[in-house]
Structure formats: C-alpha cells, structure tokens
C-alpha cells in the first residue's frame, strides 16, 4: 500500500467556489500588466487631469475638476477590471487549456464563473478604495447616495464582464488582447471619462451615452457630483447591457 488507493469525491461546492474565487483574485492581482491597467492608469489619469488643464472641463458653479473626474475614473475602473482585464485573462486561459482542464475537475462551470465574478468584485473594491483615497487627497467632495453608486457600479460590472467574456470566448487570445486594450483606450476618450460627452456633436453623444461606460460615467456623475437620487435612465441602459451581454456570452462562449 503506497497511499494512493482511490477515494474519489468532490469537495463541498461552497468550499470549491471559495477556493476558486481566492485563486482567481490572486491571479488577477498578480498580473503586472493588468495592474497597470486597473490601478496605475486610472490613478495617473485622475491625478494628471485634476492638476493640469488639458481638457476643457465644465465649471458649473465652482465645482472642482476632481468632482467631474472622479466619477468618470470610477467608471473607467469598472471597465478596466470587468472588461479589459477579465477578457485578456480569460482569453489566455482558454488558449492555454486552463478552462479545459478545469472542466475535468469537480468544479462546475457555473462555479468557475462565480469564482471569476468574485475576483472582479474584490478587485473592483480595492480599486475603488484606492481611487477614492486619491480623489479625496485631491480635494474631492462627493455627494449623493452610496447605495445608488454601488448599484450602478455592480450593473456596470455585470455588463462589462459579459462583454469581456463574450470577446474572450469567441476570439483568439491575441485578438482579444488587442481589441480589449483598444476598447479601453478609446473609451478613456469617448466614454465620458475625462472628456464630457456634452462636448461631442449630438448624434455622436447619443450613441456614446448608450454605451455601458458612457451610461455608467454619466450616472455616477449625476449622483456623486450633482447629488441626484438614482439616475433611472442610465441605470436602465446599464441593466439592459447587464442582461444582454452575459446572455450572449453564455450563448456563444467556446471553452476550447
């Protein structure tokens, strides 16, 4: 007897999902390039555009530049983690057979998805804490209801995750890498993050406001800068994306 006698069995599902969530979170946080995307770039944009008059920001009634920027940067944080980071990581996991190998483990597929969702939420929480601390240091004075902010960000994260997984599950890993980064860069400028969507011609603005990042930045700004209650219009846009995108991902995702 050398101690390998068969004794098969799956761990309890709750233990599997906790373990998977912890592993996925470590993988996301350990990746240097992803950290650049999720922490360094949003922080730099926040500091840079608060300090330097590079874009013409609206100055309604003495509102500070940071009061305009912080909600947009929080929307960008959601985009970077739930969409870009997740798409790239998952795309390469698919390419390297990680998803295939896990499919043969006792962890069910929905358990893997729970793990990934937890990883995104934990990372987002850390990002939000970091970016809020930086914004406060820059003199940010947020208003509004924290619950409305949380609801908007969760809806935005669900929408972005769905789109990220849709991309990761259908394109080649290299294509996902390129496209996810491109989308990130474009939306920094065209997602209402650092440039007000009002600066764009009406036809373009309407389209940009219907994108998840545009709606999220706009909604967060309504609450955090203008002290509005729940911005139902933006929340509605986000909710539609939050249903359609994950559904499309579930429908079209190829595991190999």
């Amino acid at each position: 007897m050398t101690g390998h006698a068969p004794r098969p069995g799956a761990a309890p599902v709750s233990r599997m999902i906790t373990a998977q969530a912890a592993l996925e979170t470590r993988m996301l946080l350990r990746n240097g390039e992803q950290l650049l995307l999720t922490a360094v770039i949003p922080t730099l944009l926040l500091v840079l555009f608060s300090a330097v008059d590079l874009v013409d920001l609206p100055d309604d009634g003495g509102a500070d530049r940071v009061d305009f920027l912080a909600p947009g940067i929080l929307a960008l944080a959601v985009l970077s983690t739930a969409f870009t980071s997740q798409a790239i990581a998952t795309g390469y996991e698919r390419r390297y057979g990680v998803l295939k190998r896990l499919a043969a483990s006792p962890l069910p597929r929905w358990g893997l998805m729970c793990g990934k969702t937890c990883a995104v939420l934990v990372t987002l929480l850390l990002q939000t804490a970091l970016l809020c601390a930086v914004a406060f240091a820059l003199g940010w004075s947020p208003r509004g209801n924290a619950l409305a902010v949380a609801a908007l960000m969760v809806l935005g994260a669900a929408a972005c995750s769905g789109l990220g997984l849709l991309m990761a599950g259908t394109l080649r890993a290299e294509a996902t890498l390129a496209a996810a980064n491109l989308v990130f860069v474009l939306l920094v400028f065209f997602g209402g993050v650092i440039i007000p969507l009002d600066d764009f011609p009406d036809g373009v603005r309407v389209v940009l406001e219907l994108l998840p990042v545009g709606a999220l930045a706009d909604g967060l700004r309504d609450v955090l800068r203008d002290g509005a209650g729940m911005p139902w219009g933006d929340a509605g846009v986000l909710a539609v994306w939050a249903v359609l995108a994950p559904a499309a991902a579930a429908r079209f995702f190829r595991w190999e």
Binding site: M1, T2, G3, H4, A5, P6, R7, P8, G9, A10, A11, R15, M16, A19, Q20, L23, R26, M27, R30, N31, Y92, E93, Y96, G97, V98, K100, R101, A103, A104, S105, P106, L107, P108, E256
Partner: protein, 312 residues
C-alpha cells in the same frame, strides 16, 4: 478496488466514430480497459489516440458508437464522473502565473480526500519548483505537475495523454514509478504513448491503434509472440544453395537472399538455429559475415502493423 477478473471493466468503447469535418479521426474503434490495469494506447501521431481519450474524458461527443467510463456516459454523467476520474492533458491546462505548489493545493482543495500534496510534490521531484510560476517551469516540470494534478484527487481512473513526452530519463522513471504505485493501489490507468518501451515497461495491456482503429490488443508478451517473425541475418558470397540450407534448418524456418550476398533466416531464432547456420556455413566453406539476430520487440509489431512511412 484490486484488479480481479470479475470486476466490471473501467472503460468500454464500442464502435466509436469521431469526425472533424471531412477527416475521420476515429473510425469504429473498440477498446476495453480492465479495472485496476494499466492500459497503453499505442499509436503513431495522428492515429486517433487523443481523440479516443477525449471522448472518454467527456470533452468530445462521439459521432457514433458508445463510450462507458466506470459504467457511465462521459458526456451526460460528467458531473458524477469528474470527481472519480483524473485527467492529464497533453499540454498546458494551468494558469501561466500560478505557482506549481499553489495550483496543486488548489486542485487538492477541489476534492474531498486528496493526496498529501507535499508528499506528491516530493515524489515527482517538484519540491524545488513549488514556488515557481507555471510559465517559468521547464517542459519536464510542467509534465510532472500535470501528472500530479491528475492524481491528487485520488481518482479511480486516470487518463494520461503522453505523460512522459519530453521528459529526461530520471523524470521518466519517476513518472513510471508513480504509475506503478497507482496500479498497486488499484487505480486504473489509461495512457497514450508512442514509446514502445513505455508500453512494454508499464502496461498490462496494450492497444495498438492506427487510422482510428485498434489494430491489435493484448499483453506486451502476447503482442510480441504474434505478428512479425524473429530474424537472423548474415552476409556471405552471393548465390549460396538455399535449398540445402533450408533442409538443414528446423521445420518452419525460411531462408531468403533479399539482395545478392545478404541472407535472411526466419523461424525460431535461438542458439540452435545460430549453431545450425554456422555449422552449415563451415561445411560449405562460407565465412558468415555480420551475423545479427533480432528477436522482435513490441516495436517490430508496431512498425509491422502501422507501417514505416513517416506520418504527417
């Protein structure tokens, strides 16, 4: 879980067909794997080994035929089979940034009664690599880690797809030792390989597959006895009297001169035949040159059955 004749087979594949577009990768394959045995699926590249194994693992749905693993359908009953079956893929399957020890502990944590990961790490010589990220492991370390991941959950049945490809001799022997230990503990192992010595060394049962079918199955000894004949070759002056030589040899022997001055004797190649041939040569004033005898190996059977031309 010891191997007994009465135990139900661990794997039964009958009439399996799997196509990729116009290519038929597996073409009516039958295979039975006895519980508690080590079965080697041996074949050249492109023979359909991986496709067959992936049908058993539930990754692929057969186009025709039937696959039963531990009595269950690997696709429909995947949820019940997954904890009971260990899988080692041919390449990859691990997060690039995860440390070797970390992923092994993680996989252990997905099972109810896993093996001791420290001991398994030690046994496969992965101790020094335990804190190394997967992407920086050597090819051999990646292979051994994949093997560890396949067995850590204490499965009843493991599928190893080319487990020693690219390993150095030490790592190969460590892998073989682990497979033998699994066998003695009653774990059923199905391994694919194109290495004859691996099949001869490890397997209770060998299935040689080619062109998507099993072309021979049996113990390494059984396969070695049938098929290709043993052969004795020697060189001498051209045009020896073959009729006379054949008459001197035991019944059932055959002698030919495939090219002038080169002779080939088949039959029961042993000391007696060698003595007969040299005695006959002495009588006829022939100096037999470059005498070689080759008792054929699994490799000869394999090459005879699957041909010698290179595969794409």
């Amino acid at each position: 879980m010891q191997s007994t004749g009465a135990a139900a087979p661990a794997v039964v594949v009958s009439g399996l067909v799997k196509r990729y577009g116009a290519t038929t990768a597996v073409d009516g394959l039958d295979l039975t794997v006895g519980a508690g045995t080590v079965t080697a699926v041996l074949g050249p590249n492109g023979a359909g080994k991986t496709t067959t194994v992936e049908c058993c693992e539930g990754y692929l749905t057969p186009d025709a035929g039937r696959v039963r693993v531990l009595g269950l359908d690997p696709v429909k009953d995947a949820r019940h089979l997954r904890p009971r079956v260990g899988v080692m893929l041919q390449a990859g399957g691990v997060y690039p940034g995860v440390r070797a020890g970390e992923i092994l502990r993680h996989m252990a944590g997905l099972h109810a009664h896993p093996l001791d990961t420290a001991e398994l790490t030690e046994r496969l010589g992965l101790g020094p690599a335990a804190r190394t990220p997967y992407r920086r492991l050597s090819g051999g370390q990646k292979q051994r880690l994949a093997l560890a991941l396949a067995v850590v959950g204490r499965p009843e049945l493991v599928f190893l797809d080319e487990p020693t490809a690219g390993l150095d001799p030490q790592a190969r022997h460590a892998t073989w030792d682990l497979v033998r230990a699994l066998r003695s503990d009653g774990v059923t192992t199905v391994l694919t390989t194109h290495l004859m010595d691996e099949a001869e060394e490890l397997a209770d049962d060998v299935a040689i597959i080619d062109g998507g079918r099993v072309v021979a199955q049996g113990t390494p000894d059984e396969l070695g006895r049938g098929g290709a004949a043993d052969v004795l070759r020697f060189a001498g002056r051209p045009g020896l009297d073959l009729v006379s030589l054949r008459a001197a040899l035991p019944a059932g022997s055959e002698v030919t001169e495939p090219s002038p001055g080169s002779y080939r004797v088949t039959g029961d190649v042993g000391p007696r035949m060698l003595a007969t041939v040299t005695a006959w040569c002495a009588q006829h004033g022939v100096m037999p040159d470059r005498i070689t005898t080759r008792r054929h190996t699994l490799e000869d059977v394999f090459l005879e059955l699957t041909g010698k031309e290179l595969r794409p």
